[in-house]
């Protein structure tokens, strides 16, 4: 165990030394409801070279992809308008984009009796949605 930890520590030091220049820009797109209960969660990511950032086209495709993951079909249908709203929001970001790490944008939708059903867009790293 100690040897394994030392090896991990050394590799982490190397990773820390090389960022942020070589890190990828990244965003996460999620559909969730009943957080803290059954915790239905569907997630998709998009990454890009840091210099370019994640594009609007990638964000739109990421939202489409996470939408396709959602089950059951009734939830997928219920999430449609929130997915569209988030795609519209992403489309309105250029040219300034979004650069604050950890920024998230939630769009809620009605699904059964849950009051927390939502589509989240999260900026994990990088200056994204500039183009």
């Amino acid at each position: 165990m100690a040897t394994r930890l030392m090896a991990l520590d050394e590799r982490l030091r190397l990773l820390l030394a090389r960022r942020p220049r070589r890190r990828a820009a990244s965003m996460r797109f999620q559909v969730q409801w009943d957080t803290g209960g059954t915790d239905a969660t569907f997630s998709e990511i998009r990454t890009a070279e840091l210099a370019n950032g994640v594009t609007v086209d990638q964000a739109v495709s990421g939202l489409d992809a996470v939408h396709r993951q959602v089950t059951p079909g009734s939830a997928r249908q219920a999430a449609s308008s929130a997915i569209q709203s988030q795609q519209d929001w992403a489309t309105r970001r250029p040219p300034y984009g979004i650069s604050q790490q950890g920024y998230s944008q939630s769009e809620y939708f009605r699904y059964q009796t849950y009051d927390d059903a939502r589509v989240d867009v999260e900026n994990i790293f990088g200056h994204n949605l500039r183009a």
Partner: protein, 160 residues
């Protein structure tokens, strides 16, 4: 167990701490997903750029210890990193909730800490409780910008 490299980075301020917090937050989230049987989206591997390191971290990092380390940063740092608060929103650990509430109590009305408070509000908006309601009410009353807007929207949603 938290590797020394992450402990050291988290003790710094700025980019070093932010990266370490991002990694720990993604590990905490993945642990939560594993417990709930939710599939991984691969973000931890993408951020690290190293699948082996991601796998090792998932094996060795303990959630309670990680939440304690992140909370200690927020308690001690003169300029707490917003990504540390973000990381704490990724775990159901009680210590995380207590720390986010304390963060709101400390910084709710400080315009320089808008993004930090926003992260705490994001986390508290997912954990409905009387303590969370009190904290969100404080941000709705004296907070600024997007933190105030999200706190207000959350309270309206909870009351609707």
């Amino acid at each position: 167990m938290i590797p020394d490299a992450l402990r050291t980075a988290l003790a710094e301020e700025g980019e070093e701490a932010s990266f370490a917090a991002t990694v720990l937050g993604l590990v905490l989230k993945r642990h939560d997903w594993q417990r709930r049987g939710i599939s991984s989206d691969g973000l931890l591997e993408e951020v690290l750029g190293d699948r082996d390191v991601a796998g090792l971290l998932l094996d060795v990092v303990g959630d309670e210890e990680a939440a304690g380390l992140l909370a200690a940063h927020l308690d001690a740092a003169s300029e707490p990193e917003p990504m540390v608060a973000w990381a704490l929103t990724k775990t159901p650990e009680v210590r995380a909730r207590e720390t986010l509430i304390a963060l709101v109590d400390r910084y709710a009305g400080d315009p320089r800490k808008e993004h930090l408070v926003f992260q705490a509000v994001v986390g508290l908006s997912r954990w409905r409780s009387e303590e969370a309601r009190r904290a969100l009410s404080a941000v709705a009353e004296v907070g600024v910008g997007k933190a105030q807007a999200l706190a207000t929207q959350t309270l309206v949603r909870w009351d609707s």
